[in-house]
Symmetry: D2
Subunit: 387 residues, 4 copies
């Protein structure tokens, strides 16, 4: 029943199922799978799409011939499996050259190198079919605020993004950018720390209509924020270009856990939001299996991400159809028409009426709201205990 | 040496020094001072300005005559002491009527009541000289996402702000709005949880040029964010209309502690930012004294906020004049001219040059940055141990 | 099916269902119910027990006659409804006299007052049948570490607890103490911040066998800790004397939300732990309804706490009976007998054998563990999506 | 003036200055220094001691001869530089064999391997002079609570420590154990998450007198706890056997930043505590330089750790000698003798007197405490702005 289908648009990054289990305190534990092998694994578990950083696919020092051979093999496995490449991105964080940042590095040569690498990576992504290009500024930040003027850094960030939308337009690519926020790690403090900050910053760009966001569950949870609310703001602004699904306990290192494996209820609200709003983009899982996992367990991990999404999607539909829940919502959302019509756009007469109106605050405050009841019905529904 | 002067533009809310020491687990501990008494206290400690919520000054059920008498007395003490009112705001959180929100409440009558109350409060603020009007949506949020559709809530929030800028223009007031973010408390999750989210949301308003932000140290620290970076984004967008200074340990209840009393270094960077950038607005302290304080200690608290600001301002100037620090910064910021000129606005030729350039990443990566040294010099300077 | 029964031992504090919806930013929203009314409400929703702080029942300034009248009425409603009083505690945080602490206050008179109040409150609790007495040191902490020497404070805390176990023994009461940890709020930093700290501190008390812990979900979650792990440590030490169930997002103000309403999975593990271990004490809910609730919704809140517990208890039994889950666990827990027998108590020969053994680390490291699979089966089970 | 001297007992782990700048998102950036080179570096910057994990010094697969050659060279450089080895520890986290834990692993062979490795590492540490042996259970935890029964895990942990104290006694080593807590990372939830939990757990060990704690600033800050308070509890119990100094923003990945570089005030209180209490053990810095650092900046980092400690130690002495601060403290700590003598050990007569005493709570509550004033004087002192 909860088997993934192509129309679910489930995608994974090569780096997600391809993670070898290393972490800051331990070396790799799984033997490497090639990009081709990873695509086959994704096909086996039922995914629709695969995303990559340039160097997930092509080693950073590969020759042009090597690069083309790899791309050819990758394209072949895509053809064979039917997987698509909806999104690509640039690795601007692993190489030591970016130790002080990429677009915001203090060294002009490093900034230039980052631009160069990104243009090539955009070419690669577009060549393989990507229509969304993600920017996560992993190294765009500081450990000490002595080291960088944040206004200069924001200026450099803007300059780089403007340059790159210029490049995309010049090349005639059909490609949109999606900025991904993160509050910290690996830098002590990242610039563009939240999805909100990204949405604001986008408005200052030359080609802001080409740029949206890629909110990640873990990154908002790290800051203790309600992820779904950030989604809603992005959607409200027409900027939800892509999404990174995973899970995370607030106030910790970046965990990238299996979707829905920590906070089932938060996952429920976000799936419900996406489905109700009609989000039509990829459901991308930016997560990885536990260090304890072997390759079978990696598959269980990937299947689990999709299965949980589908179970929650089904529950979201149940919620919308549940008579008791909907009756409560109808009561909650009933509006006093006389008052409603004074609201809306500013009108001097309405304003005066409102100012003069003698509100019976005590009476209005008497009204209770059955939110505990409603929330418990939601819990029951999530637990499969509604009938 | 570190005595406050009028040109320092230090302001306090009536609710800050006026706090009676109650908290969620305890009743009031200090005998109430009148608004007039609080202004006298602020004058005594050397403040320049005083801000208020409508009901800090005028009780929510006061008659028109009572209101005018109070305003008259308040104006008299302002005249007597020379204090000004740079900012005012509305209390849309204390009264039970707003238990489910104000602008985003599910009940149209409550939303209407909130608009009505705010228009009257704007009149009051303007009458007393305020040029900035702050909106903190204390109740604009949820405990359960079952209770409100966030898109509807954002729509109502926008509608209310559009209505109110309409009102301000209609009245011919010279008044700007400043939105204040907070991630949670008293609601489990507040809409517009971060300064970034506010900056984004502002771009969707009808009169966005009239609306900026009022970032608060504690509110960004609650989410573990680097406050100064949020200031920088707001400044970069021309939206830093007001500021709330205090202190807070990350990941806790809203503490509103004495400015600089928790994280001296974070306070240093924010003061340095404001002074270097040339921020000319009020330095408003939105903090309150410990529950253990008596009125003498409340004065010590208020004096401490200002004194710490001035000490840190002096240290910021020292930083800018310190030869060892500046020499390090000169080295860090030296730019390769050949590379710099390829950056900047998009240019097809430069783009091609960059793409074709064979970057010696290993050589570039060799470069170390003396940031530990620089940060330690900053620490020494903060500790008064530079000479 | 998930209706509470007496043998479930569900209890609520008077202060939980009796909360009037006030918070740091808003006044009371519900009209007060008497203690008698609250017991009737608890009986109506199916609770087994009711707990109280002294002043939840008897006003702090009540005369002896008044106190006895109240106790009589309370006893009558207990008799009428069949509810029992398993636990009682002292309010040492609300009154201004405790603004600087109770047992750890700097003022000897305040410490004396706290002891006096606690002895009277113990008498009251015992009179009404309590067999567990909880100590939450709400004001035992600091805002500034300048204000108190922590060694002196710990010494005072110990002295007070020793005094009070002395009192209990002297009175011949059959009463155990349970210490409740909390990291912060209302003080910036509380002493005995975690259940671990309480368990350690208990070992330094004169009558440590009389003293255990009362771990609270919200208080451990505030510090981002795995609550169930703290339960396990307490249980392992024979110190799980009582428990406070509710819910809480990490890194926030103390939320005291409906049990299981935030993190369903964490709630599942804790219920499973209690049921598997055979914890026989009360299941006490230290939570309160949303500010938006009316009295009907308060009842829905209380019913929801118990219902969720029972649903999760049922799921814990399912987990223990699920063949696929148990098969995975059998595989995971299979032990190499030859190795097992070298472990256990220290034995010089075994030690030498182990030191000399040439472990094939690479081979051992090859072994993967199906924890993603197992965790996903758990998620499916929680979601009601197994079979 | 603030130059390190041998009597300051400053030590660093080989892994601290030896860190090559890699992190979860990036590869190594600094060329490796040998253990000998690192000791020379530490001697150059003025350290007194050097600590190590077994594999910091001897590769995990070294032959016995190789091991002895390395130890000989290491001893030679210790002799040449005068550095001592006060502490050693085992790396039970990096090797894939420990992916599911070491002492608490589900596989008996892995647990055996961990014991074997630790005995050999203890031998190595003792051979080089260590008198303290640290246990940080980096992998002792879970991602999913489905995977391990916490009671079984705690039992295994205890069994391992009992085995190892048995070994130490059997060998006649003069060695004490120090347990190091950490809430999470690299595991989602670590057992023994806080120093409090360690202190409690120690009481359940066979040779508890041989076992104390090694509290780390960053690890307690990760959980948002007041580090100094945890130190105080450990000290109060006679269990402060070692200490790990560094810095960390609450609610984040493990940062291990330069001592005092984040929260200067928290660092001040902890230094003051150690110095006032008379802690005579090593001042160990478990920190590492930024990824941006080159080897010169690594030296600046190490020097900065020690310098900040010494500056704060000097300030702690100033605090104790400051007449204004001490006058405030005298007032705060003045005790009512009549009341004081009723406190202390339980006495039935005193108890009765206290119960009968009619406390004038209102009068006692009137007393304010000059804690804002005191805390601001502390801030001034830290900032070098007293006189």
């Amino acid at each position: 029943m909860f088997e993934p289908r192509l129309e679910d648009r489930f995608s994974f990054g090569l780096w997600t199922v391809g993670c070898l289990g290393d972490d800051p305190f331990g070396g790799v534990v799984r033997s490497e799978l090639s990009a081709v092998g990873l695509v086959e694994l994704l096909a086996e578990v039922g995914a629709w799409g695969v995303n990559f950083h340039d160097n997930d696919l092509v080693p950073v020092d590969a020759s042009w011939d090597e690069r083309n051979r790899i791309v050819g093999e990758f394209r072949a496995v895509l053809d064979a499996t039917g997987l698509v490449v909806p999104m690509a991105t640039t690795n601007l964080f692993f190489d030591p050259v970016f130790r002080d940042g990429a677009f915001t590095a203090n060294d002009a040569s490093v900034r230039a190198c980052a631009l160069s690498k990104t243009m090539r990576a955009i070419d690669l992504g577009v060549e393989l079919g990507a229509s969304t290009y993600v920017f996560w500024g992993g190294r765009e930040g500081v450990e000490s605020d002595a080291s960088k003027d944040p206004l200069v850094a924001l200026g450099r960030y803007r300059e780089a993004l403007n340059f790159l939308t210029g490049y995309v337009k010049d090349q005639g690519y059909d490609l949109r950018f999606a900025l991904e926020a993160k509050p910290n790690e690996p830098r002590a403090d990242s610039y563009l720390a939240t999805t909100g900050a990204c949405l604001a910053f986008i408005e200052t760009l030359d080609d802001s209509e080409m740029v949206g966001v890629n909110p990640e569950v873990a990154h908002e949870h790290m800051a203790g924020l309600n992820y779904m609310h950030q989604l809603a703001l992005a959607w409200d602004m027409g900027k939800l270009f892509h999404i990174d699904l995973n899970d995370q306990v607030p106030g910790r290192y970046d965990q990238d856990l299996r979707f829905g494996s920590v906070n089932i209820k938060a996952a429920f609200w976000l799936v419900k939001f996406l489905e109700d709003a009609g989000y039509a983009g990829p459901r991308h899982f930016d997560a990885h299996a536990y260090r304890t996992a072997d390759w079978d367990d990696v598959k269980a991990f990937a299947r689990g991400c999709m299965r949980t999404y589908l179970i929650l999607k089904d529950k979201a539909a149940q919620f919308n159809a549940d008579p008791a829940i909907q009756a409560l919502l109808d009561g909650i959302n009933a509006q006093d028409k006389a008052m409603s019509k004074l609201l809306g756009s500013y009108d001097p007469k309405n304003a005066q009426t409102l100012k003069d109106h003698n509100f019976d605050r005590a009476a209005l405050a008497e009204r209770g709201y059955p939110y505990e009841q409603l929330d418990q019905l939601t819990n029951d529904l999530i637990l499969g205990a509604r009938e």
